[in-house]
Amino acid sequence: MLNQGLAIMRREVFYLCRDRGLRHILLCGSLIGLLLFYAIYSAQVLKDIPAAIVDLDNSSASRELAEKISKAEYLKLVASLESYDDLQELIKQGRVIVGIVIPENFARDVALGRQARVLAVIDGSNMIYATNASAAVLTVTRTISAQAGVSALVARGVQLKQAQEAYQAIDFSEEPWFNPALNYAYFLVLALALNIWQQCCTLAACLNVIGERGMKSWLQIKASGISKFKFFTSKSLAQILIFMAIVLPLYILAFGVFKLPLNCSLPAFLLFTLAFAIAIHSIGTLASSFARNAVDAARFGMIIALPSFVLSGYTWPLEAMPAYLQKAARILPQTWFFQGINYFAFKDAGWNLMSHFILAMLAITAVCYGAAAILIARD
């Protein structure tokens, strides 16, 4: 009995290996993905946002201000410009993201206690730049206006101590948890590679049923009298084992070599991954059991697998999506899996939550396998 199952599993491995396209995809797809994404985000932290200063005053006060701004966290002064038009030009070309314009007569206005308006321009077309740049500018804003305000008060005859008290800001320290350096590579690399992995696995799983029934050898299997349940169970087992086998080197590389964060235990994370591997396998199996041919099966599977990362809320958060979409997204195992990466790899949110996530994925799995079984039996 067991031998029969093992023989089917072995043949399944041969089948996957002899399909050249699938072999390449399974073996290389997710690894290439991981390496590529790691390379893309190798800068890791968005420092050195290109900034330019237009100093129309060119006084010691304005230079001091420029100096202060150029030292702001995350900003990197790449140009000192003569005119506002030059700045505009550089921003249009995308070579500068932040521009600071210090007006003419800045020093004189400050000295006379008149208002001086410094302008900060931020290119908002790329949000990743824009949010970081504006956070940097916000800090600069605070210190500059406080210093200027204190001197203004002193100029009006207020005692220095009292003036400082007026500007005694609420001091606050920021602590970004779970990813203290706001490392973009930590945020995206593993998740994107796993996204490729799940797409590759879906493609393989989409061949599960149609790959047998669409071949003439199906007659042999039917004639042999082996139960369909046993046959497809053995096949599926082999496929799921392969899915796990290809995710292992991914994890070794990601956690061992690239030192991406894994705050829960590795066995727990592997268990979580296994539940997901079974879940995507069940979706592929379902697609392959009602498709007329292998291409359609691949399309059905991928129609779910492709947008699932965006829908999963791993990047743009679920909470910000319309309520109906949040509900719909929870039907997909990918949503649970990618949310899970956030909750377990980063936050170590505990076994209670993980078991909840695993149960959700298994429930989806049960529905898909059940539907597939009905479709297979009916034929």
């Binding site: 249009k92 410094v118 321009v121 504006s134 001091d171 706001l182 047998e212």
Partner: protein
Amino acid sequence: MRQILDIAHYEMLSIFKEKILFLMVFLVPLGYAALFGATYVTAILGNVPVAIVDLDDSRLSREIAAAFANSPHFKVVDDIRTYRELEEGMKNGRLRAGVVIPENFEQEMARHTLTRVLAIYDGSNLIWGYNTRKYIREVFNDFSASNTASYLAGLGYTKNEIRSIMDTVSLNTEVWYNPTFSYANFLFLGLVMMILHQIGLLSVSLTITREKERKTWLQFLSAPVPAWKIFAGKSLPYFVANFFNYALLLWFAARFIHVKLSGSLPLILLLGFLYDLVITGAGFFISTHAPNSLQVTRYVMLLSVPFFMISGYTWPATHIPAFINYLARLLPSTWMALGFRQVTLKELDISYILPHIRALGLMAVLAVLLAVNFTKRLKPRPESGTEINGGASYPVRWK
């Protein structure tokens, strides 16, 4: 010309006859756009759930709490009172930010002892992380300003005097192009370009593999019809459909997702035309070389994520290693996505996107040249041996 149109006519027929292909060409792009559109329709990340752990419970600490409660960016979660609960909430996702006001905060402020409010935010998802950091700083800046203003009022200054003192040096920030920090403005059209890329490429790249699988390719090969006419006729319907989808998706984006779509219309049309041409040419080229539809479908489907990430559309190219950037420049999607943003979001004129037009134009010429120069002779293959799905067939359910 007549011959080309006739070939195109029969290609249309086969698109209409194959239901799934028909859906793919005419419905899936809009479907995906609608799905992603719904995802980003909120556009601005608001209501960040924040907990205020007030260990001081003084006037000042309550004012800080009020500042967060009054901010449009935050939503205070009321039932979290302790640091432990805060930790728990951050882990299980109920909270994305927290503010901890230490004991005796007001007193120590008054005594000028070093004391600090702790602002915590979730860095594991950097869309939350970046935005929340910015929001927190905004709240504290505003709060400090109002604090100063009330202090000065206490010294007996008038409103005008206070304003002139506080605005001695004011740093006004202008955010250009996307002042509301709308995520939809930022990302959605890039995704639309990827949808068009993927579906366009996939549907064209099946046009010859389909003939190969059905053996009808022999009819094309044995007929005295030149290769370029086969290309022109067979890809014309896809070219038109892709362009129609381009227009449809842009209209959809502007009308329903309220994405900013300004800039010069002729430029938008030109970019779309070139992009479409590259995709159609490249898809046809792939199709003439691929063994069967299954392999094409598999490979093409996997392209979308890497192509988008590599383009520098999100994580900026300035922070991507040079060799990756060179790689990205070989892809039409990179030029299209970035060029399109220059036109529609930054509203730049043609002089700024000449490089993009040049690159896309060059790629279009190259793709079409490759596509029309396929050889009309096959290299006969041996029986496939033990290989699976490598020849001109794939599993099809048979009766």
